[in-house]
Symmetry: C2
Subunit: 215 residues, 2 copies
């Protein structure tokens, strides 16, 4: 069970699309992502759900204002749509192919809408390697809400300890571990371990280390 | 009804205490605050409440690891305790004194524990100007959870639209507005307006503009 954006797909690849409109695309994308997550957390806590696609647009609007970038409606829509073409991490496809060859079912559990997740996975060439895409949209609450992780156990009709959840986000690793899943934290940036909540079972720096762990 | 940390009290003043242990106290305090808020959001969404004092310590532990600062137990405790001595913004006391003189009841609604909030307000010399301190600790969920803002209407036995909530945090302004309170956003850093959720009734850049708005 994989998180999608930031784990299989590299959000930093949005800088290419952002670079058409600003000289500092890294800063724009960082604000965009930070705000997108902030709105997802706030929407869940305020009990005022809005879809990932809508929050992505609201967060982009904020990020453009913060960085002083003005876009017309067409350019805005095109940039928001870049989430449907986020590039995979270099090792992602080979890892999924190896797990697929070993007949280990692979799924995605994402904050994204199913439509955007499917589009992005197809564009990245990994769509056929994923059995099922589970989206927070079905419970109208974002990770790390326990109802989200319960989608995984419900789909596979199994207990949480039979599933391995793979994510690059520390708070997502904590949330899944709190929900009882076995968790592999792909700590790409070498961040310190989270100090609040349940801890992941495995930590590594790229997905290439995953297949050896999955017996 | 005032938010405390970041609104009446200046979190950046923690840099003085942090500066005893690092050459870049601004970066350490920024990580510390960001993680403290992140853990508060995660704790609420995961339904695994821990007090502000505990999250402050966990976030400090993370921030020290991230910035490569090692502290012994006594130094760690002393730095965490600096939240009991966060300095007020320059205009905060005069504004509270003016409202007090006009017999407008002033209260605090804080993510902090009541003990830490009281200590910090007394150290800042504003404790006697605040009628009541309402803490998220009573509902075991952090802002922007609607149960937190409901503490204010319950205490004053009034409807939300009879209360003005003052905060410097954009997400706190949105949350309070979603809960039906009248909201004054003290946008000290000139941030863009939030683009998701209900909007505040007033926006200004320092608390000095508040008394003129409260008829």
């Amino acid at each position: 069970m994989f998180d999608l954006f930031g784990t299989l797909l590299d959000i930093a690849s949005l800088r290419a699309a952002a670079g058409r409109h600003t000289t500092d695309p890294a800063a724009l994308v960082a604000t965009w992502r930070e705000k997108q997550l902030g709105y997802a957390f706030a929407a869940t806590i305020m009990q005022r759900y809005a879809s990932f696609d809508e929050l992505t647009e609201r967060a982009l609007e904020y990020a453009l204002a913060r960085h002083g970038v003005a876009l017309d409606a067409a350019a805005f829509a095109a940039l928001a749509q870049a989430w449907c073409r986020v590039e995979p991490y270099p090792e992602a496809r080979a890892v999924l192919e190896e797990l697929h060859a070993r007949r280990i079912p692979c799924a995605v559990l994402t904050n994204g809408t199913r439509a955007t997740a499917h589009a992005a996975m197809d564009a990245a060439g990994i769509g056929t390697l994923i059995d099922v895409t589970l989206s927070v949209d079905d419970v109208r609450a974002y990770k790390p809400d326990p109802r989200v992780y319960a989608l995984a156990t419900a789909h596979y009709e199994t207990t949480a300890d039979q599933l391995v959840f793979v994510t690059s986000n520390g708070w997502d690793a904590t949330g899944a571990a709190e929900a009882g899943l076995r968790v592999a934290w792909c700590n790409r940036l070498g961040a310190p371990a989270e100090t609040f909540g349940a801890t992941p079972d495995w930590t590594f720096s790229t997905l290439a280390e995953l297949p050896a762990l999955v017996a």
